[in-house]
Symmetry: C2
Subunit: 334 residues, 2 copies
């Protein structure tokens, strides 16, 4: 079975785009066309209920995500689907999430399930089966190619995810440094030995990536890390601590990471990171810059924003192939 | 609207049992009676499929949990339902989780949804709506009275949960110290200022509990903490750092916390903690000690184990009412 890391890196090279589009659908922000159609139907069947039925809303999220997938699939190697945006719609929401995963696969995309799960070991095993495992696939359920997980429990909290991912040819991205304003409150705490919590977590991830039996032909592990660097030096330090991990880098665009910070997440072989943009692409149709070119054609706005995002990352981000792309030797020299 | 902390503390005093039973149903461990019935049905409809249909399994988990609820509802104030054990069964699993929440409510129990969610602020808002919010309740969905959440993102990752909980009269329990063997790898890291990560997190939780507008008539906040102390001194330090938080204490029994460690989680007013036991109660029918008294009556084994658990906590744990139960003044003096 091919390693997740190899599949992802090959898809990135094929598209020459080390990016993924984040599907974070928010009902209130969906195009009027999608909301109106469903709200019309809801009005009839719901007898004037103030809030739309979760089934109708979940169907709206799904319809929107499928449209986004159609527009971005020719351009990018992967999408990241955040399950949090589906969970408010309960079982119908979860079915919609699975349908979006399936549609992305059918469109040839690699799928990262942004689920941020973790618990004590025996419980993480349940989450691993749910989000990475084979159980239920015979009944029409599909799984993402990788998921995000939280490191707060330490090794036994993440091990079941890594083992299941390895057995299934899938991957994990473990939170090291998140992109939110208060991330530093815990992740930035200074340790007695001079490191920060995020660096200690990065060292753990570096160890897991090395020893979990998930290193592929390019020298990268299917144990990746979520890294949203606050500055260039922090990114470089994390790069050294996790030489074999692919960084999933959120926060480009809406959350304010600079091109230099993103560039520092790549290795000298031009590999080692995949940059995510969510709102900046999928809700581009609400921005004047895109409306002035594409008017009410929200699909065209999304495609244009996706192209602009890729151009941005290509211009400022990695030097793809710069290091020659020697299999088996990610360079950590920046 | 009554505060969650007040509802929980009143229920604990009513039952004189500062405990909750953890519903962590594992298909393979369910009583033969429940598995056989469903597997029989599955055999017919699934045409010899090796694995049972997720719908049948979810129905089995639900049937089992409803039986447990019937046996423990007369004895305990609350149950803790871990959603991880339902997620492997996808949408049917999630429906089963909601049905178990509903059945526990109908049996008069307070329900803690052990979901351990967290993300960046705007995404946590989605999880908050999903697990604590009002959206969808008009369509037959119910929510737990409180949920567990993960602190790795800092303030903006937990704020939406606290605000939603406050608006809905619900609560949160934020992970401070978990019960798994490798918990110390991150939570036990020593900081430059002499604290540990878990103490720094506890200080954050103490601040959130104080300032979130969720302090009830007993002086306790609806912002609680998950604390599984590794030793008595650690428990006392965390107790001082989070004087107004109710500790949800897992790991009694199966995970090996001692009575002294559990006792140190309570305040001198006899309040301030709720001790959880999961496997030790719900799978008691697999243990010789209970089988020798109750034979194949698995329901009786569960009831007996629940009574033994309560006796254990009463004997060694808190001194309920010892401090006089003065409203508005949890004592942190140990």
């Amino acid at each position: 079975m091919r390693h997740f890391a190899d599949r992802l890196l090959a898809a990135i090279e094929r598209t020459a785009a080390p990016v993924c589009v984040g599907l974070d659908p928010v009902w209130e922000k969906l195009p009027e066309e999608i909301r109106a159609g469903l709200e019309g139907a809801a009005r009839t069947s719901l007898d004037g209920a103030a809030r739309a039925n979760p089934e109708h809303r979940a169907a709206g999220l799904m319809a929107f995500c499928l449209e986004v997938i159609q527009r971005v699939a020719p351009l990018v190697p992967a999408v990241k689907i955040n399950i949090a945006f589906f969970e408010p719609y309960h079982a119908p929401g979860l079915l919609a999430y699975r349908e979006v995963v399936k549609a992305a696969h059918e469109a040839g995309l690699i799928v990262i399930g942004d689920v941020k799960r973790a618990d004590i070991g025996s419980t993480s095993q349940q989450y691993a089966v749910a989000h990475l495992g084979a159980l239920g696939e015979g009944h029409g359920y599909v799984h993402p190619d990788a998921i995000t997980i939280n490191p707060y429990f330490g090794t036994d909290g993440v091990l079941p995810f890594m083992e299941t991912a390895r057995d299934e040819g899938r991957g994990v991205f473990i939170l090291a440094q998140t992109s939110n304003p208060s991330a530093g409150e815990v992740q930035g705490l200074e340790l007695a030995d001079g490191r920060t919590v995020r660096e200690a977590v990065a060292e753990l991830i570096g160890g897991w990536a090395e020893t979990s039996g998930m290193i592929g032909e390019f020298g990268y592990s299917s144990v990746g890390a979520v890294v949203s660097p606050t500055d260039v030096n922090a990114a470089r330090r994390l790069r050294v601590l996790m030489p074999r991990s692919i960084f999933l880098v959120p926060g480009f665009g809406a959350q304010g990471r600079t091109a230099e910070e993103v560039a520092a997440c790549f290795n000298d072989d031009g590999r080692g990171a995949i940059v995510a943009s969510s709102r900046g692409v999928i809700f581009a149709f609400a921005e004047q810059a895109y409306r002035s070119s594409h008017g009410d054609d929200w699909r065209a706005c999304i495609a244009a924003a996706c192209r602009a995002f890729i151009d941005d990352v290509r211009r400022h981000g990695p030097r793809i192939g710069a290091g020659g792309g020697v299999p088996g030797s990610p360079s950590t020299m920046k």
